[in-house]
Structures are given as structure tokens and as C-alpha cells.
């Protein structure tokens, strides 16, 4: 039986991982498909100097991606270059040559995946992007087909491994954000320019994609309220633990009667929830369905091999569609058409909050803060102060009962005017996921 032939563009970590899986698992893959998946072309700027797994001599090795997308013997192209520049050209080129496309490109797919899918349908080719979110977790397959009979009510994800690694190290060792970040950079867990990760933008691209699959809406990542983890300290974890909680960077997408509520922000989550057990660089997604109830998915967020598994599984799926002549069988976005949707403003979200203050010590501080909160109709839940410290060194914490983000923001604006504040307060929602 004729094999389906793959062209791989981009031989960095993910590309090399993909290639080694295709080589080492070739027999098992054929046993599942009933035909072979063969590599026909590979492309990288440094293809001739790179050490590659043994490829048969008729495999095209090129540094020009155009030779791959136009190759008459390539059925499906894996775009593993990343970014939104040449990657877009590669995908457009592949579609123009009626090649199916597998991509790991969250940024590009979050920004213009819906248009790319439209073009793919017209060209009658298949488009797959499992690797774009939470590499090692088949969350696209789950939302696209696994639980497609359900309607999603809410989705919470730990979507950035770097942030989760940093947060759990701060938690474990009581170290500072800067210390742990520097160490993560030395170990190669964090980029030299860590902003995309630690400021939450990587997670918001991923959340945009997951929300599209879960809710059927086209979501622009910049419409998602996004806050990073730079202000989370070891002291926050000590207070959170006192409250029976921990802190994670949570990407949340929730259905409300007014529309979708989307945010990426450090949040307190109860320690006895399964989401709180996600430590280190792991990713996880928790889904609440109207009918199926709670489900939870966990695995490696990145890495050449976990992401490579996602790419190879996508290649297998696309290869099946090519063999069956059924390119548009299932949308990569789970829905045939994505509706345009403006998420509702985060100010309208409701939850309990954790508020951390650092102040110049003096009389009547709690009374003043309580007064401002009371003016905003916010009810205090608890006031916490770790022992044997003065307030200058050690911030104290007020938790409040569920209220709107707008009220919290108004209260913080008022509080920030108070003379005894040493820095702007930190506010984190206290979420109640699984």
C-alpha cells in the first residue's frame, strides 16, 4: 500500500524530535495506520551540517522551504519553524500547492488560524495543530472529537510550563522570582527574553486557541485580560497556604449569560484540587462540561519528544484523511465555522480576592483599608499577618468575599492614594476549579 509522504520544515528541537519519532516508531505507526508514513523531504537553514537520524538517500534535504511545499511527492507539510513571518508563507505555500499542513505554531494559529482554515477548506486539504497548545497533552483531540458531544461551560488551564516551573520553585524553596528566573534561564527552561512566558502572552495565545475549540468563537489573544507572574513572591505562597490554597498562572475561559469571560492571571486555587497538584514544567487543562461534568488532562507542555508526539499523531490523522479523501472531515477548531466574539470585559468577572499590602506601619491602617473596601460594598473575609515580622518587611493580606473585578479595581485605586502604602497592592482572584 502506498505510503503517505511527509515534508518537515524546521529542524530545531521539535523538528528533530518529530523526525526521531517518525524513524524509531515507523513500524508501530504503520501497524496503526495500515500504511507507512514516510519522510520525503526535510528543510532547515543548516540542513547540511545537522546531525539527523538515518534517512534513506532519496530524502530531499534542502535549506529552501519552497522546494518542500512544491515537491510533487510530498503529501503533507509539517511547519515547525514558528513565528508569524516565514511560517505564514510556508503554510500559505503548502495550501497553494494543495498539501495538507500540520503545525505547532500557536501564535500564528491564534492570530489567523480561522482564515487559514477557510483557505484549507477551499483547497480541500487538511490542517492540524495539536502541538500548538500543551504539546504533550492531546487537548485538541479531546475538544475536537473526544468530548465533542458536550458543551463546555468552563475551561481552566496551566498553559505555560516556564511560569509553572518558576511558581512551584518559589513555592518549594521560598526563593524570589528574579532568583528562580535567572536559574531557569541558566538551565534553559526560560528564554533569555522571558517576557512572552512570564508576562502571560504565551498562555493567552494558547487560551485563545483552546477557547475557540471549546466555545466555537474566534478569539483575539489581545482581547484576553493578561497578567504575568512577576509580582508573585514567596510570601504570597505562605499566605496562600494558610488559606489552604496555592498560586498558579491560570488561563480561564468561562461561559456567562453575557458572553465569554477570558483571563490569564496568577490566581489562588484550593490546594486539595487536582489542578493544584500540577508542579514543575507540566501543563494541565481542566474542562467543565454541561453534561460530562469535570474532566482533567495533564502532561508535558513542551519538549522535543512530547511536542513531537503531537506532531506525529497529527501527521497520522492527516495521512488517514488523505487516504480516505476526506480533508474537511473535522475542523481543527472543532466547529465548522467560528463566530466572532468579543469577550466580556474582565471587570465584570466575580470572585473572592486575595489582596496583599505593604505599608508604612502605623495606627488605624486596617480600619482605613476596611473603610475603603466597605465603601465599595466589598465584604472582608479574613485579615492575615505572618508572625514575628514588622509590616514594612512583611506584607499582610486581606481576603474578601466574592465581588466584581470592577469593585476591586475601584477599591485599589482608592487605596493606592493612601499615604501609608509602600507599593501598589497585589490582587489575585481565588478560583474554585476542580
Amino acid at each position: 500500500m502506498r505510503s503517505v509522504r511527509v515534508g518537515i520544515i524546521g529542524l530545531g528541537n521539535v523538528g528533530s524530535g518529530t523526525l526521531s519519532i517518525l524513524t524509531e516508531n515507523a513500524e508501530q505507526i504503520a501497524g496503526k495506520l495500515g500504511f507507512r508514513l514516510s519522510v520525503r523531504a526535510v528543510c532547515s537553514r543548516s540542513v547540511h551540517s545537522k546531525e539527523l537520524p538515518q534517512l534513506s538517500t532519496d530524502v530531499l534535504k534542502t535549506s529552501d522551504w519552497r522546494e518542500v511545499v512544491s515537491h510533487p511527492e510530498v503529501d503533507v507539510v509539517a511547519e515547525l519553524v514558528g513565528g508569524t513571518g516565514v511560517a505564514r508563507e510556508i503554510i500559505d505555500g503548502a495550501i497553494a500547492h494543495r498539501k495538507s499542513v500540520v503545525t505547532a505554531n500557536k501564535e500564528l494559529m491564534a492570530q489567523c488560524g480561522a482564515e487559514i482554515w477557510d483557505r484549507a477548506i477551499k483547497a480541500r486539504i487538511n490542517l492540524a495543530m495539536e502541538a500548538s497548545v500543551a504539546g504533550g497533552i492531546p487537548i485538541h483531540a479531546v475538544l475536537r472529537e473526544g468530548i465533542s458531544g458536550d458543551r463546555v461551560r468552563a475551561l481552566y488551564g496551566i498553559l505555560n510550563g516556564t511560569c509553572n516551573y518558576i511558581l512551584t520553585e518559589i513555592e518549594k524553596r521560598g526563593a524570589s522570582f528574579d532568583e528562580v528566573l535567572a536559574e531557569a534561564q541558566r538551565l534553559g527552561y526560560a528564554e533569555a527574553d522571558p517576557g512572552m512566558d512570564v508576562d502571560g502572552f504565551d498562555a493567552s495565545s494558547k487560551l485563545a486557541l483552546l477557547a475557540a475549540l471549546a466555545f466555537g468563537h474566534r478569539i483575539t489573544p489581545s482581547d484576553i485580560y493578561t497578567e504575568g507572574i512577576r509580582r508573585v513572591t514567596a510570601v504570597d505562597f505562605r499566605y496562600a497556604h494558610q488559606l489552604g490554597h496555592t498560586i498558579r498562572l491560570i488561563g480561564a475561559a468561562r461561559e456567562t449569560s453575557d458572553g465569554l469571560l477570558l483571563s490569564v492571571r496568577p490566581s489562588l486555587i484550593p490546594q486539595d484540587t487536582i489542578l493544584a497538584g500540577v508542579r514543575g514544567s507540566y501543563n494541565a487543562v481542566w474542562v467543565s462540561g454541561h453534561f460530562g461534568g469535570d474532566t482533567f488532562y495533564y502532561g508535558r507542555g513542551a519538549g522535543p519528544h512530547p511536542t513531537g508526539v503531537a506532531i506525529v499523531s497529527d501527521l497520522m490523522r492527516v495521512a488517514r484523511e488523505i487516504r480516505c479523501g476526506s480533508p474537511e472531515r473535522v475542523s481543527p477548531f472543532a466547529h465548522q465555522r467560528l463566530g466572532d466574539h468579543k469577550p466580556i470585559p474582565v471587570e465584570r468577572s466575580h470572585s473572592a480576592y486575595y489582596l496583599r499590602f505593604r505599608v508604612e506601619d502605623g495606627p488605624g491602617i486596617i480600619a482605613k483599608l476596611a473603610g475603603v473596601l466597605s465603601d465599595q460594598k466589598i465584604s472582608l473575609d479574613a485579615v492575615l499577618q505572618l508572625p514575628q515580622q514588622n509590616w514594612r518587611d512583611l506584607p499582610f493580606v486581606i481576603t474578601v468575599e466574592p465581588t466584581s473585578e470592577q469593585s476591586i479595581r475601584d477599591a485599589i485605586a482608592e487605596i493606592s492614594k493612601l499615604h501609608f502604602l509602600l507599593e501598589p497592592p497585589v490582587a489575585m482572584p481565588m478560583e474554585k476549579p476542580l
Copy 2:
């Protein structure tokens, strides 16, 4: 666009749940598929007295399943009757009439799913069975397509919600197995005849199916070493906690150099693992892949709606195949052909063990037990005894370093001859999953 038409046979909890999801989610389902999924026939012995969601008047309501499988306007049949008798006839009948089949029937599929799939291929119809294992978790979709690029190294599952409910209640309240079982029966969480659940047979059918998907082998459930939870006591949990562990009924399938090692048995698992966080009637599956590393899936194991989501998601997938004319696109067993495989005997498994003894108090007991273990070349790890109790009331525990199940059995056979034993020792492996 013409709809795909469904016939539902069996309107018990799962059938009714399926019907209500198909009705209430009809628009969302059409938005995902691009066409409608319509109910054309329903069948139940009590169909005329049953309260059903509003069905259009042209829906056939019958108490004769033959009318459904032979109905010219039914494209796909959902077999939700269960058991291995009439269910088999229904599936055979549907295949004979070239209808695709969706089933929730773990027992039947574990026993003869591979033959049914062979017949389905020949008839060019589709067969789907997501609901047969861990209803609310799309673990079939995950193994069949989501991580199909990987090779599974090991799979551990909490596959029986009744057992997990009973164990976590014993753990939480210190109650006895009999007490909790009686209560679970009153609440409807356990059957009047609980043997299938508490003796592990339900879990071993499910493990047989998951192992087939994960490893590509046809596994006979009776070849799986199966041990239930009847001997697990509250005291075992107290000792397990002292060891930093908890106890769950674990279905394990592991690749070894000699073949597959399969077992269903109560096992100690470390408390800080994500698997230990699975409480109540939830199910979970942990998968270790050669390339993708650890992934973990969690959700409701049963219930009309979670299982209904699995059925409806399968119906959607099958409907897509019908529309694309691609019935055999993907095997319900993940592999095109299942190899015949005899699991290796459990006696050859290796792990640390927890051994619990109840004895007539007297001198030299530990020395005698240690002597027998030493004769079997088993190294003691720890001896534990809860305080302020005599040994008659309160058993004590010995943990031993990793050894073979065979050595443990030989040691227990010797120990059981000792005059001071009041009951046969209890042995549980100490597993090290995620």
C-alpha cells in the same frame, strides 16, 4: 444537507442520558458537524410507558430491536443494552444490515471486540466504543488518535468508580468495607450484587480494552490477574499514610522485555502523586509513553450524562465517517490488527510490597517472619505498628524492598504455616506511578 440518522437501543440511564444530550445539544452538534444528527428510532422494552424527551412524531418507538437494526432510515445504531447476550445479537444484526455501531458495552467488547471489528471492516461500517471504559474520560480518543504517534510503556488506571468511592470513604471515615458497601448500595452507588465491581472484574474488562488500544494486543480479561478490595481495611490506610501512601484499586498494564504484565489489584501509591488525588467515584488513567512521557486523564467514570457524552461524541465521529464514506479510517482498537498475546504471569512482576499480619501476640514473631523473608532473599524495609494496641486487635505491617511476586507468594505460603498467624497475611504492591 442530509442528516445522519441514529437508532438508539436501550433506554435505561445511559440511553436516556444520550437521548437528552442529542436533543438539548442538537444545534451545537450541527455547528460542529456541519449537518444534523437526528434520532430516527428508539427501542426499549418499556418504550411506550417511558418518559422521553420530546421526539418528533416520525421517530419510531418500538420494543423490538430488530425493527431498529433493519430500519432503512437508520444509519447508525447505538447499542446501550449491555451484557453479552442480546447485545451481541443487536450488534451482529446492525452489522448484517450495514449499519454503523456505537456501543458502551465493555464486557462484550473486551470478550469479542476484535472479531466484531473484523466483521465491521468486511461490512464497511464503523464501530465505536468510547463509552465502554471510563465513561466521562475520552481515553479511547486519546489512545486511538490523540497520542497515537507514541508507543505506550505503561498505563495505570483507576477504572471502577464504585471501588474508588468505597476506598476513599474507608480512608476518610475509618469505616469498614462492609459498612461503606452497604451504604453505597443504599445510595445506589453499588449494585445489589457488588461482585463485578468490588472483586475487580469490571476493572479487568476495562483494562483489557485499554491494553488492547495501548499495546495492540488482544487481551482476554480472564488472563489478567485480578484481586478485589474486600480485604482492605481502615487500618491499612493508617499504615499507608504513615508510609506517605494511599491505597487504590489500580489496573496496571506494563511493557516488559518479556511481554505485557497486567494486573488489577489494590495497591499502595504515593500520596503526592496526581493519581492519589483521585477521590470518590471518579476514574483516571495515567499513561507513560516512550516519547511523550507522562500524561494523565481524569473524569467521571459513569453516570447517564458523562457516559452519554461519550456515546454522542462517538455518534458524531461515526456520522462524519458515514458522510465521508470512510468507515475503516481508524480502528476502534487504535491498531489495524490486534496481535494475540498471553500476558506474562503476574508472579514475574517486581515491586516493593506492603505486608499486613494479624497474629497471636508472643515473643520472637518479627524474628520468625524476618527469617522466612530472608530465606526468600527478600529484604525488609520497615516494620510498622500503630501505638497503644495489642497485636490481636491491630495488625502490624512489614514493608519489603522490591522483589518478585513469586518470592512474596512463596514467603506468604511459608508464613501462613506459622502457628501464631490469625488470618492469612495481606500483600499489596507499592506502585510508583506518576
